[in-house]
């Protein structure tokens, strides 16, 4: 293996590991914000208990998200120095802005969110939760802008192999960006909704803290139910965007080899794409369906992979199947939410054990769909690091292959330890369940009254 492959594996591994955590925290922050709003408005104790319980889950995910996220900021330089030097003028400011507008906001107010109950007035605490929520979503704004720019670069001119910026507005709001951002944000909210719902359903099946988990489940289901149909619509828009700006990627996602010159392009729900033979094996196809999906017309033309030189094509097998996995989960979520709506209509939301069991079963699927979606987006971009302009193989650092082998092995060992511990402590926190008895700090206490009177 060479530096290129190993660096890609390492970046892919660290990104896939990292994305799990912000996906949850971006969504869970919104959930916590709603809970605290309800607590302040209704003064109903249960909302306070809910906040204190779910914020523990939030904190664990936030910590792992932060430490794994720094890695990525460094890997641009350590592993992809040539790429970084070429794109720095356009892309790096977006990351500097992410630090300034998002990370400081999250980190600055997380302390108050976790430890500030007795130290700041209730309104300030709520403000801290809101700011952490905004910070979390803002970080998605900047990093999706940077990633979308790699997919559909804009606002630059190429001088001696370097991207010089001509217009930051165009660079940030590049063609892929709007759908890219909304797709990711909704994925976060939806994933968090299903993740919380699955946990609640599990404890409801065990008949533990029924009132607490029912209330938590209702809010989570509202969040998931709003997102599930929205995500399908955004997915459709995203597909059209990819078709327009990244035709090779779309053709790979759909394993579409031949441009349909007469008649519509078929949609292929199942196939084993064979890149060497440039065709699909065991394909099942639905005539005209791809044309309808992408162009919204029966016979719309869609470019096939064969129109692009072999060396410019992504890995079709991976792109095709990861895309199908993500879409399948998206539609499964939609079905579950339709079912939830029917149950709600009949006022039997919590009474169907089968429904609760289903929620438990689909609990982690949002995370899997998010990772599959990222693999589709990034593998589909290959062999380019900046789509159509700079090859990934031209972007790596001038480093020895031993460096990357060393770090990749350590990443795998350390991440395994972190993942095991993360599961252990998350499950432990969940098993312990909410604290329903400790006293509630009085609302509207002046700041800092509690600071220094007790013995160490």
């Amino acid at each position: 293996m060479d530096v290129v492959s190993l660096s890609r594996i390492q970046f892919g591994l660290t990104t896939a590991f990292h994305i799990i955590f912000p996906t949850l925290t971006i969504g869970l922050a919104v959930y916590l914000m709603v809970i605290e709003f309800l607590w302040l408005r209704s003064k109903n104790e249960i909302y306070y208990r809910m906040y204190r319980f779910w914020v523990k889950i939030f904190a664990i995910h936030f910590a792992v998200g932060v430490v794994s996220g720094i890695t990525l900021e460094f890997e641009f330089g350590t592993n992809f120095a040539r790429f970084s030097q070429a794109v720095a003028n356009v892309m790096a400011p977006l990351m500097a802005y992410e630090g300034m507008t998002a990370f400081f906001l999250e980190a600055g107010f997380l302390g108050i969110m976790l430890f500030g109950w007795k130290r700041v007035p209730a309104a300030i605490h709520f403000l801290a939760t809101c700011l952490v929520t905004i910070g979390a979503s803002l970080s998605a704004f900047w990093i999706m802008a940077a990633n979308a720019w790699m997919q559909t670069p804009a606002g630059y001119q190429l001088v001696d192999g370097k991207f010089l910026v001509t217009d930051f507005g165009e660079a940030i709001f590049n063609p892929a960006f709007p759908t890219h951002l909304i797709h990711m944000l909704v994925a976060s909210y939806e994933t968090a909704g299903f993740a919380v719902a699955g946990i609640c359903a599990y404890f409801l099946l065990k008949k533990k803290n029924v009132n607490f988990y029912r209330r938590s489940l209702s809010l989570a289901l509202i969040m998931a139910a709003l997102c599930a149909p929205l995500q399908v619509i955004i997915g459709d828009l995203k597909g059209q965007n990819v078709a327009k700006y990244q035709p090779t990627k779309l053709a790979a996602m759909e394993a579409h080899w031949e441009t349909n010159t007469q008649g519509g392009a078929a949609f292929i729900p199942f196939a084993i794409p064979d890149m060497a033979a440039e065709k699909n094996r065991f394909a099942v196809s639905i005539p005209n369906a791809l044309s309808i999906l992408i162009t919204h017309s029966l016979e719309g033309q869609i470019q096939g992979l064969k129109e692009f030189p072999k060396e410019d094509r992504p890995n079709v097998l991976v792109t095709f199947w990861t895309f199908r996995g993500m879409v399948a989960i998206g539609f499964l979520f939609l079905l579950v939410m339709i079912w939830a709506a029917v149950l709600w209509w009949r006022k039997r939301s919590f009474e169907s054990p089968l429904f609760l069991k289903t929620l438990v079963a689909v609990q982690p699927l949002g995370f899997i769909a998010t990772i599959l979606g990222w693999v589709t987006a990034e593998m589909g971009r290959q062999p380019w690091v900046v789509y159509g302009i700079m090859r990934t193989s031209d972007g790596v650092s001038p480093i020895a292959v031993g460096n990357v082998i060393w770090s990749l092995i350590l990443f795998m060992i350390f991440f395994a330890i972190i993942v095991a511990s993360y599961f252990y402590y998350t499950l432990k926190t969940l098993r312990q369940g909410p604290d329903l008895s400790s006293p509630i700090p009085p609302i509207q206490r002046p700041a800092g009254m509690q600071s220094s009177n007790e013995a160490v």
């Binding site: 914020v55 904190a59 664990i60 910590a63 792992v64 932060v66 430490v67 720094i70 900021e73 460094f74 641009f76 330089g77 350590t78 120095a81 040539r82 970084s84 030097q85 720095a88 003028n89 790096a92 400011p93 990351m95 500097a96 802005y97 630090g99 300034m100 507008t101 990370f103 400081f104 980190a107 600055g108 107010f109 997380l110 302390g111 108050i112 430890f115 500030g116 010089l164 910026v165 930051f168 650092s397 001038p398 480093i399 020895a400 031993g402 460096n403 770090s407 350590l410 350390f414 511990s421 993360y422 402590y425 432990k428 926190t429 700041a447 800092g448 509690q450 600071s451 007790e454 160490v456």
Partner: protein, 333 residues
């Protein structure tokens, strides 16, 4: 060229802010083995729990700002220092998760996360020092790319700087604990601060002698005009800080040891910069070779001018909210 210098100053400011803010967080963790029991460790951890993440964010922003404004430094340094930088990150990973995992752990497991917290911080501090030492030692560059070997960063000088930085962070951590704690933890922190300032002073003398021997050009720049007219200010400030620390520890002052330790760090940092400027990467890349295009500097500067004051404002607010001595019972979450 004013814009370039403004950014040299800003990146320098972010770096020193990171060094002193995360420095005391790492220092507190490095002092962990000195604690007598879990209650004392709880106090030490709670003294930094609300602020460590914000402190650490300065390196994330610093990385982004360096990437945006001096991409050549960012890319060359990060390729050249691949191993120490990723070692630094591995340390930060274990330090960071230790806060949450320890808080949720049973007493038997707490010991594991105490160790992760200590070793993670120690490794991070040492690797930072290695990075700094290697940066001062110079990096082989050809055509704005790293052209050296994987272990160029490892030499006696960089190892010495690594050890020096550990001592420096112990000084910051112990003087911070003096402010935030009382009773036996505070008394121990006074003693730790006392021996660490002696070691730090020894290292500073050693670094000041070794650095110009290691690279005579640094000496030349120190004594070049007009630098010669003000460069003596830094060792003087360092000496004043040193004696202030000793005196304030002896008289059991609570806040002054930490403040004067910050000045000691700042004086050492500025003294070092005075020997490197106008180079971005020794021995051959100047800040003008390394800087980004003007539009990028301006665009990023807008953010810094508008947003960074706000960030500093709420950072100070956060410290104010958590001011005062740490109370053991004011447990996690």
């Amino acid at each position: 060229m004013g814009l370039v210098h403004l950014w040299v100053g800003l990146v320098g400011l972010v770096v020193i802010l990171y060094v002193i803010l995360d420095g005391f967080s790492l220092g507190v963790a490095i002092l962990f083995p000195g604690a007598k029991d879990e209650a004392q460790r709880d106090v030490m951890m709670n003294s930094i729990a609300p602020v460590w993440d914000a402190n650490q964010t300065w390196i994330v922003f610093g990385g982004g700002a360096l990437f945006a404004t001096f991409p050549v430094i960012y890319t060359v340094l990060f390729s050249a220092l691949y191993i120490p930088l990723l070692t630094f990150l591995f340390g930060l990973i274990f330090r960071g998760v230790a806060f949450e995992f320890r808080a949720n752990a049973s007493s038997a497991h707490k010991r594991v996360w105490n160790r992760a917290f200590f070793w993670g911080s120690l490794v991070a501090a040492f690797a930072q020092g290695l990075t700094l030492g290697a940066y001062i030692s110079g990096i082989t560059v050809s055509g704005k790319s790293f052209a050296g070997k994987p272990f160029d960063w490892l030499n006696p000088f960089s190892v010495m700087v690594g050890l020096a930085l550990i001592a420096g962070y112990i000084l910051l951590g112990s003087t911070y604990l003096i402010i935030k704690t009382k009773g036996p933890v505070q008394e121990r922190a006074y003693r730790q601060a006392f021996w660490s300032i002696l070691i730090v002073a020894g290292f500073l003398v050693l670094v000041s002698i070794w650095t110009p021997l290691h690279d005579p050009a640094i000496l030349g720049r120190w004594f070049s005009k007009p630098r010669i007219y003000f460069v003596w200010v830094f060792p003087l400030l360092g000496a004043v800080s040193f004696f202030t620390i000793l005196w304030s520890l002896k008289t059991h002052r609570e806040i002054l040891p930490f403040i004067s330790s910050l000045f000691l760090f700042i004086s050492a940092y500025l003294g070092l910069q005075a020997g490197i400027y106008p180079y971005a990467i020794l021995p051959s890349v100047t800040i003008y070779d390394a800087v980004a295009q003007r539009e990028t500097l301006v665009f990023t500067l807008w953010g810094v001018c508008i947003i960074l004051p706000v960030v500093l404002g709420y950072t100070i607010y956060s410290y104010w909210v958590f001011r005062g001595k740490v109370v053991a019972e004011e447990g996690y979450h």
